[in-house]
Subunit: 427 residues, 2 copies
């Protein structure tokens, strides 16, 4: 450090943000081929330097074990050569995706002869705040680089050694490919204050994307002056309509709930129309029991529990708003489609709701009335996913309405600018 | 008020927001024809009940006079029968605009046969915080209604009587046309606390749009947990390149600065390439003098001041970041196009920057490197405007990158949802 640096009297976090800003300005006009070359260099470097990464990761894992961290968390934290190969493969998949930058979103010649073009441009500096999943470090960096953005990575302090090693490898590769290494930076420091500084860096950071649990996201939303995109909280519902194919309803229910319970697009509440409850609820309880799912039932569902081998417990109000992420589901009987919609409006996190119905009218009404990022008709909630939607990759699933809603791919990491071309036009 | 109301123990502002939320859910699926009928009823009611509105406005004007308010502010506050007719005509113009709701933004059939549709939907509840311009009350309400949103209006307390009368007329007309009157509501109370409550109503209010001066916008950005769209601060630049048609440069400069000085898309800084300074600066100073503009000059522009009749004063650092909104302009000579871009990156509010050049290379480079909502080539900065861009109307001009950037028309008042249709699809 020398006092000649223009950043000398700034905190390390703000220095990082200024460097990112300068690097972002340089990266914005870089064409696709140069960005793809850098991404290929990143993928190669991850494989070549696997040992260095695994060794750093071992430090984090050892610390986590000493701290008696849950085995599931340690599993997510752990990097193996095989996992690093998979991460490198994901980076190569990003290379194959089209570059959103430069797309003409809208264009016309105005009546006065001015040519108006709305052009897609990078957002600038993207901050990602996330938990102990080192794969997010590489994923986020690759998607931001491809979309022309600089990224500030603030992972969990429990993965600091892993992230430090990964970012070193990424920066070396990007710099070696002739792009500014400062487009990828780890936010320095393991303290809470570094997160706070990042959240207050409005004007330097263009957007913050928190990825992780509900409490992390709530903190960022409450405290950030930088614009935030909320992601990932999924209290998803499956509604079985009065007219429904029962076998198909059971399949969609079990798939939505149990195909993978730890993800945001898994179902957390079952709603059943009263006219079909006698026929459907016993089937549903049996199938859920077979899948190892505990049912948190309202009184009307409870009435069917006696006949079944299912684990059924009485629901409390809290169950309706819980994102279990486990082998649990809340269940209620509703009087009507509108009753289901009312329940969803009250309790849903706005991620994904599914209807199972044979009625065209019900399908149309449900999709009109439900206000969530995704509404599924006769399909599992598990399809709300950037990969499933064909976006190739996702930086998260937005549950807010501003800027982006639902799975966010590369275009969601961009903004636009208007280019107004005349030949001396005045008003 | 009765204790039976579900809102009984909430503050008046939060009650208003809950009512807006319920009304927004009812409005969302309403088709265009019904919304247009309500807007026509609004326009008619404004004309029929002009007297009632003018009388209420007279109270606000009298209060403003007693408080020795500036004449320009009183002018903006004043409603006359003629101005109300113009406001009603603007509402009829909104009727003619296409309805953004229901547009399929993106659609495809996925490899597994699922039909995926990204459909445009209303944002929900839009809060507008604005100053003493009662026309904004009607403009904002009309644009929100057309785009299927409920609106919460929080105008200046100095226009409270006018806004109360206007909102009464609007609600009567909307209710009379069969839509929920609660889609248009004035935020109750004239105190600062009512603004604070609105800013903290995350989950009830989907977006806040502050319209007004820089300090209002800064306050909302700093304190709001509701997502905000920043609008309207315009420190716009005109850059005259080394290769430029001098007459055309003078015309664009004078038009950008002086055609209307009080608006956000007027120019506030002139940057001149050093190679053309000898030829251009004297012409510019003469033309600006003729337009009554005071020039705040850096040393290199100052060197030309002796020969001119212009009012030229030395610039301080503050001048580079000032949005004058008056007959003033800052002016500097720069070494290169990159120097102009650097100056703009440092000081611009990101609204609109113009280049005057005959060089295709300079035009291309400037539009690539400048990161603002609009970049004009050989055209006045004054064209950055929803009306000029052909959007028919605008709710404001966003200077942020998230969600919307530049003039915001009806589509910018919407979000999207994904509709996922299968026939029993599971993963």
């Amino acid at each position: 450090m020398t006092s000649l640096s223009p950043y000398a009297d700034m905190s390390p976090v703000i220095q990082t943000a200024y460097r990112a800003r300068a690097a972002a300005a340089d990266l914005a006009p870089v064409p696709r081929a140069a960005k793809d070359d850098a991404l290929l260099a990143v993928a190669d470097a991850l494989e070549v330097r696997t040992r260095e990464i695994v060794e750093a990761n071992a430090e984090d894992v050892a610390r986590a074990r000493e701290a008696n961290t849950a085995e599931s968390v340690i599993d997510r934290l752990t990097l193996t050569p095989e996992r690093i190969r998979a991460i490198a493969a994901d980076v190569r998949d990003v290379v194959a995706l089209p570059d959103p930058v430069g797309e003409i979103v809208r264009g016309s010649t105005l009546p006065n002869g001015i040519d108006l073009r709305q052009v897609r441009v990078p957002l600038g500096v993207v901050g990602i705040i996330y938990e102990a999943r080192p794969n997010v470090t590489v994923d986020a960096a690759a998607l931001c680089l491809k979309s022309g953005n600089a990224v500030l990575l603030r992972g969990s302090s429990s993965a600091y050694a892993s992230n430090t090693a990964l970012v070193r490898v990424l920066r070396d590769a990007v710099g070696g490919a002739g792009l500014p290494a400062d487009v990828i930076q780890l936010v320095p420091g393991e303290s809470r204050e570094s997160v706070t500084e990042l959240m207050r860096a409005r004007g330097l950071v263009d957007v913050l994307i928190p990825r992780g649990g509900a409490s992390l996201i709530r903190t960022v939303v409450e405290q950030s002056t930088v614009p935030v995109i909320e992601t990932g909280t999924g209290n998803c519902h499956v509604y079985v309509d009065a007219e429904a194919d029962l076998d198909l309803a059971v399949e969609i229910l079990v798939n939505s709930k149990a195909q993978r319970v730890s993800v945001c697009n898994s179902a957390e509440t079952l709603l059943v129309h009263q006219d079909i409850a006698d026929a459907f609820v016993p089937l549903a309880l049996a199938a859920l029991a077979e899948a190892g799912v505990t049912v948190h039932a309202d009184e009307r569902v409870m009435a069917y529990a006696g006949d079944s081998k299912a684990t059924v417990v009485p629901a409390t109000a809290e169950d309706w708003e819980t994102e279990y992420l486990s082998h649990d589901i809340a269940a209620a009987v509703v009087d009507s489609l509108e009753g289901a919609v009312g329940h969803i409006r009250l309790w849903s996190s706005g991620h994904t709701e599914a209807i199972v119905t044979t009625s065209q009218r019900s399908a149309r009404r449900f999709t009109q009335l439900v206000d969530s990022a995704a509404v599924a008709v006769n399909a599992s909630t598990r399809f709300t996913d950037g990969g499933q939607f064909g976006f190739g990759a996702e930086i998260g699933i937005s549950t807010q309405k501003l800027h982006a809603r639902g799975p966010m791919g590369l275009p969601e990491l961009t903004s636009t600018k208007y280019v107004v071309t005349g030949d001396g036009h005045t008003r």
